[in-house]
């Protein structure tokens, strides 16, 4: 059952991604981009990561796609500028480069990395293990404990544990990154012609 769901999701993700790249009109590309994000969120759910799946749908299919659609509506391109594309020789070159990359990486995956098949654990085995030991794997609680440390009875100990965890640093750095990106987008998007009084 899981295998069939994974196969369907993979096929849909690949088809929609190809359509994103091949469509002439960017509005269709953004539509198919949603179609390629949703199967990947489903695969995250199969991988016992419901929190990441929800964040994927919220941020990618919600926020970023709305941003893209707003920009497409805002910049109001002419019809002939939608149709522009590289000449055939460039497309052929790009296809060649990507094919070489794909062949090298796939041969690496297929023949070199996992010869002893130790890593091919069956799905049933994993779900048994998760049922026994890790019911909260991938949940909001687990990810929160990963970032902020486990809640403790003794507040001083808990504080020490939180401070010593490395994830809290990158968490705060991500918030700084978002603020910097917000200010940068505002400054770039501001019109320079009119003076603000």
């Amino acid at each position: 059952m899981v295998d069939i769901i994974f196969l369907i999701c993979a096929i849909f993700a690949v088809i929609f991604s190809v359509l994103v790249v091949l469509m002439k009109n960017p509005i269709y590309s953004s539509l198919f981009l949603v179609g390629s994000f949703l199967p990947i969120a489903t695969i995250y759910i199969l991988m016992y990561a419901p929190f990441v799946a929800v964040i994927q749908i919220l941020v990618y299919a919600g926020a970023i796609l709305v941003l893209f659609t707003f920009v497409i509506m805002m910049i109001d391109l002419k019809e002939k500028e939608f149709k522009i594309d590289k000449s055939n020789i460039y497309r052929f070159l790009a296809f060649g480069v990507v094919s070489i990359f794909l062949i090298i990486m796939l041969s690496y995956v297929g023949f070199k990395t996992f010869p002893d098949n130790k890593i091919q654990v069956s799905h049933a085995k994993i779900s048994d293990y998760l049922d026994k030991k890790g019911k909260t794997f991938g949940s909001t609680k687990a990810v929160g404990e990963l970032i902020f440390g486990k809640p403790d009875k003794n507040p001083i100990e808990a504080n020490k544990k939180t401070m010593s965890s490395m994830q809290i640093v990158s968490f705060e750095l991500a918030s700084i990154l978002i603020i910097v990106a917000l200010v940068g987008a505002l400054v770039l998007g501001k019109s320079r012609r009119e003076k603000i009084k």
């Binding site: 295998d3 994974f6 993979a10 993700a13 690949v14 991604s17 190809v18 994103v20 790249v21 960017p26 590309s29 953004s30 981009l33 390629s36 990947i40 991988m47 016992y48 990561a49 990441v52 964040i55 994927q56 941020v59 970023i64 941003l67 893209f68 920009v71 497409i72 805002m74 910049i75 500028e81 522009i84 594309d85 460039y90 070159l93 790009a94 296809f95 480069v97 990507v98 990359f101 794909l102 990486m105 995956v109 890593i119 091919q120 654990v121 799905h123 085995k125 994993i126 030991k133 794997f137 991938g138 687990a142 990810v143 990963l146 991500a174 978002i178 990106a181 940068g184 770039l188 019109s191």
Partner: protein, 106 residues
């Protein structure tokens, strides 16, 4: 048949990454180039999640979930700034063709 393995997840991620790279190289519309970048981010996220999930059985650690959340944050910030730059380019040049953006070349 057993499709849901680490190898098949990595192969799916590699195919998506290659499709995104093809879009970045071959398209001239800056909007579609940025959408292809998002596809590449997604492929990397998928491979990270696959490694986290299929190695949890042995290692019992789920740092990859947090790493994926961080990458999604960076991707959102990148999209915001990139689209602001795109709007500025369109305001100045009235087109978003990557072949016309050649001022820096000299």
């Amino acid at each position: 048949m057993n499709f849901f393995t680490l190898e098949s997840s990595i192969i799916l991620g590699l195919i998506l990454f290659a499709i995104g790279a093809y879009g970045v190289i071959s398209r001239r519309n800056l909007l579609v180039v940025m959408m292809s970048l998002e596809i590449m981010f997604n492929a990397v996220n998928l491979i990270l999640m696959a490694f986290t999930y299929f190695n949890f059985y042995e290692k019992g650690d789920q740092l990859g979930h947090y790493l994926v959340l961080l990458i999604i944050t960076v991707a959102a910030a990148e999209a915001a700034v990139g689209l602001a730059i795109l709007v500025t380019i369109f305001r100045n040049k009235k087109k978003i063709d990557t072949d016309d953006l050649s001022e820096m070349k000299g």
